[in-house]
Symmetry: C2
Subunit: 354 residues, 2 copies
């Protein structure tokens, strides 16, 4: 892989930092940087449904590019949703006002599971690849195009609960009373995710990210036994494509203790966890990876001086943690009430300090 690292994509600061190489400048992007907090996004979104937006390459590319026009960013993440593959698997995705996503036909039995299809990524999810290619054509060469998917457990959670959940009771019912349905579903999603991410790289993704937002909803024991193997399989397979892969193991530090043996380039750290603690835990389980994160996205509602102070505090935290590489980001997605100007303050403070 060494040779490849010296060519094209490693000149992208994000890719270099992800591989633990010295980037030409400090890479920064924001999770959910394309989204409701931007008036130009709301203008596009007012004309189509969320699902249509994801499924129309020209529109998905347009909103993906919007933050790159406003801000001096080192990456774009393709505008999509982690539940888009569930549509290709046979569920219907809708968004209730204020209720979050709703998936039809929740998977709660062997019969529900049998109803699911294994999509052909190029055919059934090709619009995501098209959107990636279209977006990339308008990006600067030093900017990285990030493809992504939900991790098997997090996607399975939504498919089982039929949407968001507080206590993940249906997931736990399967885990504790009908485990083979859960493991079968995780394996299927694992296969689908591998195909889906491979297609994204073939379409031009320079880096990949796997979101496991709800991984923390299990005990360490259950995560390690049921979720870790399929997560590792997905990561091992897609890393062979040669692009760096980031894993977001959900909220809080607990999951970091369970990652021994995981093959991954970057761990994205939630804002609840100090980077120095994250680094110490990861070193304790033998993982030498780059870190991504982890401003509390809510700090962006604060006044400019406070936002700039927190950027400096995070840089001190990175120095204390001393990971092999660091990608500046928020610890979780931007919220709709984020004032757009606050991102400029973060970026300008980062550029001034580094």
């Amino acid at each position: 892989m060494g040779d490849e690292l010296m060519t094209g994509s490693s000149q992208k600061p994000l890719v270099a930092a992800a591989f633990g190489l010295k980037p030409s400048r400090y890479p920064i992007w924001f999770m959910r940087q394309a989204g409701r907090y931007l008036p130009e996004y709301r203008a596009v979104r007012s004309k189509v449904s969320f699902t249509e937006l994801c499924q129309t390459p020209a529109l998905a590319a347009e909103v993906t590019l919007q933050p790159l026009r406003r801000y001096d960013l080192d990456a774009a993440i393709i505008f999509s949703d982690i539940l888009i593959p569930c549509v290709a698997m046979g569920q219907t995705l809708s968004f209730d006002k204020g209720e979050g996503p709703v998936l039809s036909h929740p998977v709660r039995s062997q019969a529900d599971f049998a109803y699911l299809k294994r999509p052909v990524a190029e055919r059934d999810l090709g619009y995501v690849g098209e959107a990636i290619a279209k977006t990339k054509a308008s990006m600067r060469p030093e900017q990285a195009m990030i493809g992504f998917a939900g991790a098997p457990f997090t996607v399975a959670s939504y498919m089982i609960e039929g949407g968001s959940s507080k206590n993940f009771t249906e997931v736990k019912k399967l885990l504790f009373t009908d485990r083979s349905v859960l493991t079968g579903l995780l394996d299927l999603i694992g296969d689908v995710t591998i195909d889906y991410l491979t297609m994204q790289v073939r379409s031009g993704a320079d880096a990949l990210m796997l979101f496991d937002t709800w991984a923390g909803q299990l005990t360490g024991l259950d995560y390690r036994e049921v979720v870790f193997p399929v997560t590792k399989r997905v990561l091992d397979t897609v890393r062979q494509l040669g692009v760096p892969v980031t894993y977001f193991p959900g909220q809080g530090a607990d999951r970091l203790f369970e990652l021994a043996g995981l093959g991954v380039d970057v761990i994205s750290v939630d804002w609840r966890t100090r980077l120095s603690n994250a680094q110490r835990i990861l070193q304790g389980v033998g993982l030498d990876v780059s870190l991504q994160g982890n401003l509390d996205p809510q700090i962006l509602i604060g006044p400019e001086a406070m936002v700039r102070e927190r950027v400096r505090a995070l840089l001190s935290e990175v120095r204390a943690a001393n990971p092999r590489g660091h990608i500046f980001n928020v610890g979780h997605g931007l919220l709709p009430h984020t004032p757009p100007e606050s991102l400029s303050w973060v970026i300008s403070e980062l550029r001034a300090q580094t």
Copy 2:
């Protein structure tokens, strides 16, 4: 305090384990052991509102005693709610179906804050003391009566948001743009909590617990700066009453890193965190305390063999963690769909193994 430990209350297994002394048997109780999963609770609850139930000593005592009639437990926790003091402070508490608690007059400005009253615990919250005294009269002498309150930050979160919250945006708005309102509110709740817990001990509580469910919703930096001082003040003050005090620092391991200097007897550990990790983190910050927890309450939907296996696994985990004392419990409150017989399996397995 040494003398007192040798008398009455230290013969209670829970009190002994909380103080790091050798208990006469392994203490066990379940958070939210009085509640909706019990048919006899639902029978009482069907006749009165939740708030009336909390405010009527005979009924609160009755439902507090119900699990003690069914199970061989070492403690009862007085049936109440962490938001009951908010009523005495001037907010109105209601429970929307499926929506969780709703508090009127959310505190979002100095003017909202000025509207609040500081209650006189004996007068305005005396019904809780009465319920404690009434309950205790029917308990066996070796069983501990646990009093409790919400910790200042968690109570403040509800008072500010006006109920449950996903992103705690109103709390963060105060934190990042109008901090003195938040710190003023925390200090007031701190004073109210001290009075309230003192009244509970005077009424017969043998142990206290402070629930900080949402403490993990802040960064470590913000928790340490804004929340830790008032939390420490409450704990330092109520520990002078001579009863052991347990602090539940919310979901996940992150908050444990921030507890250096906290005066507390027991840390209650969420089920997301392995006890061995909790113990290592607490030792790292210099806290030598007893631990409480931490079965995933959802394991109780599993079959008997699996429930018993998890009890044994938790006991192994305790041996590996080797804290100065341990109180067997769930890592978070029991859920309404818990099959009542599963608690018997937990208790009988614990008794068989210890």
